[in-house]
């Protein structure tokens, strides 16, 4: 009797094995993504100053991941066959890109949330394809170096401008979490600190609908709506940044200066309190003198005004002024 129960337990274990296998099932695409991620990150680590022994070890790991990737995607992982790799990931709704960044390979693998074309009259008559990217699997080398605090809102790919939703989403989620349980009733309830207040000023209508009027009872649904609607508020500013990136594509500016120009353009065309606050507080490592000068001016000039009182018009004007002065000094 008891011995048959031991056999039953073994059968139970087999059933658990089956259930677990179903739950943990990963597709060849998941495995490819994982191996690609390790392959790229080993490459990033190799860029760091390491002892020769460590470099040899990392070389070995990189080679192993490459072997595995070759098996998984039929040997297309080769920088010469970048388009094939891109097509492979594109089929699965992901963007893969790799480029040289200060004589280093940099990679990006992220989910394509939305594709679109933007056309605007400013900064110039510019029309560009953009991709809204999220759920980043592999971050570019610069972001990898900066760590979790790194926030890049826009970047330029070969064929499209990338808008990084990942850089805003955690902020929106954090803001939602901090407000949902406190059940604010009045506007001053949203005034926790300057950053929170900036978010409130940008997302006033959404905040009141979700936190005060409680349009959604379900927390998860409310959160998703908040993140989606919130992102839409930031989108014009991001597109403004993207427009400048597209316009500057062939200008051969240093990348950090190009990014500064994009930020200033975004803020001047479609000013936004939160974006202003984030950029004002961000410690952006600019290597080119003009970019350093620009960020310094940005930080100093905008510090003259208390962030809680600054208006969108002031942000726009100041951004334009800095942009213009940088153009003139060039």
């Amino acid at each position: 009797m008891i011995s048959s129960r031991y056999a039953h337990l073994f059968l139970g274990l087999m059933i658990l094995f089956g259930i677990s296998s179903i739950i943990t099932h990963t597709t060849p695409f998941d495995k490819t993504t994982e191996n690609l991620k390790r392959f790229c990150y080993v490459d990033y680590v190799m860029k760091m100053p390491l002892f020769s022994q460590n470099t040899r070890e990392l070389d070995y790991y990189r080679e192993k991941y490459k072997e595995k990737l070759d098996v998984l995607i039929n040997g297309v992982l080769d920088n010469d066959k970048k388009e094939e790799v891109q097509a492979y990931f594109m089929e699965n709704g992901f963007l893969y890109d790799s480029w040289q960044e200060n004589e280093r390979h940099s990679y990006l693998l992220a989910k394509i949330i939305e594709k679109g074309v933007h056309q605007g009259g400013a900064p110039d008559e510019v029309r560009f394809d953009y991709l809204i990217l999220g759920e980043k699997k592999i971050v570019p080398f610069s972001e990898y170096l900066e760590g979790r605090g790194a926030r890049v809102f826009v970047s330029a790919g070969e064929k499209a401008i990338y808008l990084h939703k990942d850089s805003l989403e955690p902020i929106l989620r954090w803001y939602f979490e901090s407000l949902w349980d406190t059940e604010p009733k009045e506007s001053y309830h949203f005034h926790g600190d300057s950053f929170s207040y900036s978010l409130y000023r940008d997302l006033q209508g959404i905040c009141e609908g979700i936190f005060v009027k409680r349009y959604y009872m379900d927390r998860r649904r409310a959160k998703e709506t908040f993140v989606e609607e919130g992102f839409k508020v930031f989108l014009p500013c991001l597109l403004g940044m993207g427009a400048r990136m597209a316009a500057d594509r062939n200008n051969n500016f240093p990348p950090d200066y190009q990014y500064l120009r994009a930020c200033l353009t975004g803020l001047s065309l479609n000013p936004n309190h939160t974006m202003f606050y984030i950029l004002k507080r961000a410690r952006i490592n600019a290597s080119s003198p003009i970019a350093r000068k620009g960020w310094k001016a940005f930080s100093q000039r905008l510090q003259l005004t208390y962030p809680d009182q600054i208006t969108l018009e002031q942000i726009s004007e100041m951004s334009q002024d800095i942009f213009r002065s940088l153009e003139e000094s060039r």
Partner: protein
């Protein structure tokens, strides 16, 4: 706090637990200085990676540890709890359940990661802690009545004893809360769901195998064993022993303990009855122990058992060189009002023989033989006895 022992005692040497500890040590030190190729090979093929798993990794990962402290922590827990679980279950069942709960813990960890933390599916896990949690679950179910000895810390060597139910429940809750934290995205370098899964698998397995019956019995035995020998407060032990004997009336050890407890202050009918029962049962299982128990019984009650049992006991006493005692018990048997059956016939002959050979008292032997002829005139030994008497009488 670090568990360093329990208040239980074990009956057997824990070979299987020692084997597992040695295997863990062996694997750890074998791969300690391995080169990058071996390291990669172990990582890829022997750690458990839920998202890209080979079935054998569910077992191999149980023998691998990340560093010395990981190994030491697991070894302490395996030693403290494993030795008693092995003692209760026997090494075969113990090893079976160790691997069963270990594999289950890896599978549950994988299932939780696959359900709530898919981004971690490719993070490998390793270590024996899932299987050890299973052992702890079994320990809780089987030895819930015990106490765990806890060391406050390595730097403060003070030991306290806390009921196992409290220690293990808190330990489980800590892991469960840790598991919830990981679902909420708080990073920990511990596979909490493997611990929770192993522990749950251990408890569930015990429930399915109806270990509660055995556990209740062991608790009564434990209470009886630890309290019956005490000079005060042994009433609880008497109750436990009596309860135990209701379900297991042929437990000689328990009868003996109860006999001692009930004869401690003065001779009692109950004490005598338990001695007699215990001695009779022990005669079948462990005659030497039966003889020792009988000596205790004789010293307290100066009486003998029924001829069938007493004859065997007296013979053991004789064999063990207790000639006087053997003779006294046979004298007591003969002096009693026992029916004159074959056992009594043998008792007379044995007594005469002891007088004649071991004690060299032929006069007494002669007296016993004469009595024998009187009591058993038709015995088949009559001729032998008569010859002895003739030989012994002065001419």
């Amino acid at each position: 706090m670090i568990p360093v022992g329990t208040n239980l005692s074990r009956k057997n040497f824990p070979w299987a637990t020692v084997g597992l500890l040695l295997a863990n040590l062996l694997f750890y030190f074998s791969f300690l200085e391995s080169d990058v190729h071996t390291e990669f090979w172990i990582w890829r093929y022997f750690y458990s990676t839920p998202g890209d798993q080979y079935p054998w990794q569910l077992i191999t990962s149980m023998f691998l540890h990340a560093n010395f402290w990981h190994l030491l922590g697991n070894s302490i827990f395996l030693w403290v709890f494993g030795v008693f679980v092995e003692d209760k279950l026997g090494w075969k069942v113990y090893l079976y359940l160790y691997f069963l709960t270990g594999v289950a813990s890896n599978l549950i960890h994988g299932a939780m990661v696959g359900t709530f933390m898919r981004e971690n599916l490719f993070i490998p896990s390793l270590g024996a802690s899932g299987a050890i949690s299973g052992v702890m679950g079994i320990y809780l179910y089987r030895c819930y009545y015990s106490k765990i000895k806890l060391l406050i810390s390595f730097w403060l060597p003070i030991r306290i004893q806390v009921p196992a139910v409290i220690v293990l429940t808190l330990w489980f809750l800590r892991d469960f809360i840790g598991g919830i934290d990981t679902i909420r995205g708080i990073h920990h370098n511990v596979a909490f769901w493997a611990h929770v899964g192993g522990f749950g698998a251990g408890l569930g397995t015990c429930k399915y195998l109806h270990y509660e019956v055995q556990a209740k019995k062991e608790k009564l035995e434990f209470v009886a064993e630890t309290t019956l020998d005490q000079s005060i407060g042994y009433g609880e032990g008497i109750k436990a022993a009596e309860t135990l004997l209701k379900t297991d009336p042929d437990n000689p050890e328990m009868h003996l303990k109860l006999a001692r407890a009930k004869s401690r202050l003065r001779a009692s009918d109950e004490g005598k009855a338990h001695y007699e029962k215990s001695i009779k049962l022990l005669l079948e299982k462990d005659p030497k122990k039966a003889m020792e128990a009988f000596i205790e019984f004789w010293n307290k009650y100066l009486t003998v058992l029924e001829p069938k049992y007493q004859l065997r006991l007296s013979r053991f006493l004789n064999k063990s060189l207790y000639f006087d005692l053997s003779a006294h018990t046979l004298e007591a048997l003969i002096g009693g009002n026992q029916p004159l059956d074959l056992y009594m016939e043998q008792a007379y002959l044995d007594l005469a023989k002891i007088y004649e050979v071991q004690l060299e008292r032929k006069d007494l032997a002669l007296y016993v033989y004469e009595k024998f002829l009187e009591k058993f005139p038709k015995s088949k030994y009559r001729e032998f006895v008569e010859r002895f008497i003739q030989r012994s009488k002065p001419s």
